[in-house]
Subunit: 439 residues, 2 copies
């Protein structure tokens, strides 16, 4: 079983910053993240992961998703950890492939092979307005650009063969220029000559991760991704998603083991079940309705402020109207309908994991849930989303991880040193190896 | 006196990688840079600095300026140092202000106020071809874009007032939204709404550094820069440059102390003068003529391969033909003429510091030179460029620094914790403080 920890400021619950055990003042203090990384590494997590966006949400009165930038934060963590993978979110819509390829190669060198890239296409119109664009690119166009972006990046990572650098002091030969390649890429979105200005990194490429679960997202994942973070509310949905995505791999000449599917789990852990449920209730009571309303209105693209909190959702726009996170829209719409939730109940259901699965119980009950999903075709592991930090991570690390280890489901020691080794993924071959010098 | 160390792979001398004491295999190993940073911090250097480019030079057979990307490298160094400033080169021509502002704010948080930005406009056509551009922007257009870029960045850094984050758990108030500002920038090159998605950093802004010495570059420095790295061959030239740049500050309502002028010095240090000269000669003999010829041909924009190495330079194009580093072109042309150098002699003169001043002597002689420039209006300090690493830095730290300390010219302990404090620069006021919420 692969376990990634998804670190989010004071925790994933939207009211985590109001919880007395959290440290919202410390989210720009690197020592806070160092502690979290070290807890996760001691528990032998495969990786830690940072989400990111390129704009501030409107409702900053009651909470804001702001903080340190992933490359700088992960590089700083690389210096104080030794084994845990470091996965950062970077958008293909508002970046240039040369910069992104360079930074991931650099992070992979610095961490000695522990870098991962969560490839996102950016969901929000506010982001466009920070990058001299009036409009956000349409959903399928974003994925077309993302596809070309990843192709350019892999060419750049391969532009130096592994043995291109010679360093023969006596002859004065620094590099074998037949093993350094211009890529001469010219496509619809990018024209990039190359080569990259850093040598090939320990993993060849960072581990490629994807978190979109729309039709475009699943197809993109099947083609490029080596791990997928996904939100699944029920085992049946998780199984359907799992077999759907895995079945797509063959079209790209890939086998099922080459893509790890990791649904999110936001677990509130108690010594007893009733203590866990009480903890979850206390967190939900700390939510500020105006904040949840704003989040939900943005997600569903409908103004909910004029509807009674204790009444049902109004009629929603169709998924074709959504140009942000299509799969999350569908999940939330289905959830509200299936469980017949009022707006307030829906806000509470989303407060923990924004659509990811939430669960309150003992460590044994949490382990039971993970084991069931893992052994019945629902997942290859999990994206662990502590509701509050550092406490929620400490509880998972100290109580759930040992239980999974006792059951033989999770490693007790790292056996590899790179993130690819943790995930059981092979190092990619170089597409230019033994090709003639292209310049 | 302010001392910055300019770290460059195996060292600044172009043949450093062939020197038996250097570690060219380790330039992508973070532990190598950690050692260098720690040597410099023990010697109480103000800062360390990394140059950067966005393309590989053509002649990779005999040396290449490649390596780790500055943000990731500096963030990794921030974790293992405590006081030394961390200055990274980032181009305004091939980046977006939102990304750059975010990363520097993040690096400044991570380092607790030690970030500096060497603002460059990029000099080479090869860089354009890595960013979907056919042509490199013309020199003055690059500076226009740089100026707007810096203005957008400062607005973004100010978009959160220092006390905007409230975190009142009981009332549910996370931020005071009257202290968070949309910037609504709309100019010739950029349209950026803001606010930035990270809070204002310890220094407010990173220390702004500039390294161009052309007319455009000097004017840009006078307006924005707080430190300037410059190449000056003689004291007379340094004095002229110093008084020229300092006299420009008043036009922007700034005082002379607000801009530190730091000429480069590439010193080969020996126990005796003759030992130092012999070390320099050995280094020069390790140069590969084809490499120096290619560098010089690019710098002067003339094909030198067809001219005899032991003859004079051919006629050069005028400086108006140069769309890269105009001031370096002028310096090299003047140097060749003044000293009546052959092509080979010029290559040797440039091998150490690419146009920066080189000097071979004992530690006392080096200190004499630095003292003379510093006390006679030539500089506020120096950009120390060790010809080979780590040895050249160790010799400077262990021999020259103590000599400067004995003379009362350089600190014996850090008195501040931020780079601004080391340089004696004030923290910038927030341009939006107490302004009404602009949204």
């Amino acid at each position: 079983m692969n376990l990634n920890v998804f670190l989010m400021n004071a925790g994933h619950h939207e009211a985590a910053w109001r919880h007395p055990g959290t440290e919202p003042h410390n989210i720009t203090d690197i020592r806070y993240f160092q502690r979290l990384a070290q807890i996760a590494e001691q528990a032998k997590f495969d990786s830690l992961f940072l989400a990111d966006g390129l704009a501030v949400s409107k409702n900053i009165k009651h909470g804001a998703f702001i903080g340190l930038e992933p490359f700088t934060l992960l590089a700083a963590l690389a210096s104080v950890t030794e084994r845990i993978g470091l996965i950062g979110t970077v958008s293909t819509t508002y970046n240039e492939p040369f910069h992104v390829a360079r930074k991931f190669a650099s992070l992979d060198h610095i961490s000695k092979g522990r870098a991962g890239w969560n490839i996102v296409t950016s969901g929000g119109e506010a982001e466009a307005r920070n990058f001299s664009k009036d409009d956000h690119l349409e959903h399928s166009k974003r994925y077309e650009r993302a596809s070309e972006f990843v192709q350019v990046a892999t060419k750049l990572w391969d532009s130096w063969e592994d043995d291109a650098i010679v360093i023969d002091r006596s002859s004065g030969s620094y590099a074998d220029d037949t093993k350094v390649h211009e890529i001469d890429h010219a496509g619809d979105s990018f024209k990039v000559s190359g080569p990259l200005n850093v040598s090939r990194s320990p993993q060849g490429y960072p581990v490629l991760v994807q978190a979109g679960s729309s039709e475009d997202g699943k197809e993109f994942a099947a083609r490029y991704a080596e791990a997928i973070f996904t939100a699944q509310q029920t085992l049946a949905e998780a199984q359907a998603f799992y077999s759907d995505v895995k079945s797509r791999l063959v079209r790209y000449g890939r086998s099922p083991e080459q893509l790890k599917i990791l649904p999110g789990i936001c677990a509130v852990i108690g010594q007893t079940e009733s203590e866990a449920i009480e903890k979850e209730r206390e967190l939900n009571e700390l939510t500020v309705p105006a904040y949840g309303l704003q989040q939900l209105s943005t997600m569903l693209k409908v103004d909910l402020y004029t509807y009674p909190l204790d009444g049902p959702l109004p009629e929603l726009p169709g998924v074709d109207q959504i140009n942000g996170n299509k799969s999350r829209y569908q999940l939330v719409a289905d959830l509200a309908q299936r469980e017949n939730l009022t707006i307030r109940q829906l806000i509470h259901r989303l407060a923990g994991g924004r659509g990811h699965r939430t669960f309150a119980g003992t460590a044994v009950q949490v382990a039971d849930q993970l084991e069931e999903w893992f052994t019945s075709g629902g997942s290859d592991g999990f994206n662990v989303m502590p509701p509050y930090l550092p406490g929620g991570l400490e509880e998972f690390a100290q109580q759930v991880v040992p239980e999974l280890q006792r059951r033989g489901l999770f490693r007790t020691e790292y056996t590899g040193t790179t993130l690819r080794e943790h995930f059981g993924l092979s190092r990619p071959a170089n597409q230019f190896a033994s090709a003639a010098l292209s310049r």
